[in-house]
Amino acid sequence: MSESTAHPTPANPVPGATSATMQDVDVAGAVPDKPGPPLAATAKRRLTSPWASLFAVILAVLWTTPTLGLLITSFRPQEDINDTGWWTVLSNPSFTMENYQTVLDPDKSSALGPYFINSIVITIPAVIAPVLLATLAAYAFAWTSFRGKNILFVAVFALQVVPIQVTLLPLLTLYVDAGISGTFWAIWISHTAFGLPLAVFLMHNFMREIPGELIEAARVDGAGHVTIFFRMMLPMLKPAIAAFGIYQFLWVWNDLLVALTFAGPGAATAPLTKALFDLAGTRGNAWYLLSAGAFVSMIVPVIVFLSLQRYFVRGLLAGSVKG
């Protein structure tokens, strides 16, 4: 059954795209043979100019300075933070752990601990759900054919244009009617919905890059859509999934608006960003705590980014630029 259908209808649904894919395959196949080493050498030569290195170092220092200042500030006593800039530590060094104690001490009302847990509870499903749904949807858009596919794809992509602020009130009304406002469900569903258009688009473009021959060969061997998706697509999509995963993770972790609106202000569901926002106090006179709070909230994204960063650039380039 699969053999007879696979041959007359090439798995590649868009006419004309086959040849492009073929070329890609040729080039890809040729790279390891001979143009590879000279290309890499040229790239290496061009990229390792000492001036470029110097420029990159200066840029890196410039970009890191504010963060370094924040880090130093977070260890300074309150009076010093209020009176002088962080650079004065050079002439007048005095450090304290008090700020961190205040934001971490579970007995204090400004403790970030419970909110930290909330943020994790919010973020993990809100990253996994859109990735899962988007890869499935992207597979359907890329490698199956059904009526109205192109229109539907354009529609999904066009949804990226809708600003989320427009959707806040109608969505909240729906959640209230469904009785799930103020729960994690409302936040998970919202983040998933807001993340899906871009995720579908990125995953689709990435999947289109996979040579049609591979899919055809799999079909010849008797693989159905399910097997192709789980055994071939998912392993090959790893960079794209990681790239989008980081992107979605940072967005959800740093989000304040969606969580505030759909989960309400209750401490039971509020994320770290809400606690950070309130940390400075009603009239902003405890702002000296913010630098310590900021570093507490930064730890997780930094770990996630560093551990997945090698996929990040690769995945984004593969998905969006060449699409």
Partner: protein, 458 residues
Amino acid sequence: MTRMMSRPRTRGAVLVAGGLSAVLALGACSSDDDGDGGSADGGSTDCADFESYGDLSGKTVTVYAGIVAPEDQPYMDSYKPFEDCTGATIDYTADKNFEQQILVQAQAGNAPDIAIVPQPGLLQQLVATGAAVEPPAEVGANVDEFWGEDWKAYGTVDGTFYAAPSGASVKSLVWYSPTQFADNGWEVPTTLDELQTLTDDIVAKGDNKPWCAGISSGEATGWPITDWMEDMMLRVGDPDVYDQWVAHDIPFNSEVPTEALDAVGNYLKNPDYVNGGIGDVSSIATTTFQDGGLPILDGACSLHRMASFYASNFPEGTDVSEDGEVFAFYLPGKTADDHPVLGAGEFNLAFADRPEVQAFQTYLSTDLWANNKASASSEATGGGWISANKGLDPANLVNPIDKLSVDLLQDPNTVFRFDGSDQMPAAVGSNAFWKQATAWITGQSTKDTLDKIEASWP
């Protein structure tokens, strides 16, 4: 149930004292894990005052406000006696985004039972959503008894009374250093003319510029000048003109407002008068309002006009009292008999009329709650909270500034007016007024400034 009706051992004691000790006892207990055992063991909660609310066991009332830690704790503490005596649970949540969120939640049908609304303008918007409900008659009666007509009017929308006042703050204050004044033989002025003379005396002394100010406050940059102008509107004009100005019955660029802003400019745009310890006139725009008055501490500045809540901006350990390092005096009226006071405050607006919500709303409008709240604040945050409730006993306040503010609010000569920019439409009150005031301090003329604000009125 048995705990609720706990025996009235200290019956006959003054209400206030009962409430106070209850809060103190509970405050002490809530620091350890078992906060619930407080009333049972302490035995000092006088539940007689709560009998009329009936048995509300198992009921929950949600409260939403913009008041966050550490000022939120006294609110929860002050609800404790009500919770212990009626069995109801009060669920207090707060975030600083309150003013935007409450509108969204009310429109989506997700409003809390009670919202603590800090502005009459926002109150009107919330009532306009149709989600707000009128309070029971007892609340109205309490407000008639404990607050003046003026306060009740700010909680009224289109002739219907909706919300009882909660906390208050006094804005007509000038911060100064009592030690510096004593050293130089300066007197606290009692009329606007005396304030002018004092200012000139300080200039003549030559040690420091007399005034300091800072108006930077994120997106709300400029608001301290709007307060200045409102204070001057009450003095150059009179409270009636002020009301007309706020309601836009007279144009924003008409004669009295022009005079008022010029009166502000007389101090804030005079390079001889400002900006003590900070810089020149333009430094007012770049200094945060939190830092604006700090030069008083090291004698680089002598006068700083800012609301009562500014007390918490001085570093911990600062002696804020009549003979201390810093204190405040009442920004005098035109004559010593004029006593206009500019202030602000919060209102308790309900979005549900379940019996427990109404009972709680009634409790919040009593003098009992005001006193419980004041002592809870004294206990938890060293004061910083006052109410215009006439039943508020100054003995429950520990902070000299709070006492001064309550004296001002309760003075029978006082004519209270609510912060005008909080009542104006958002396009003016929290947009054009702030921005034009900032442009004004950095050089724009008074006429241009007022013309532009007038043009922005919707």
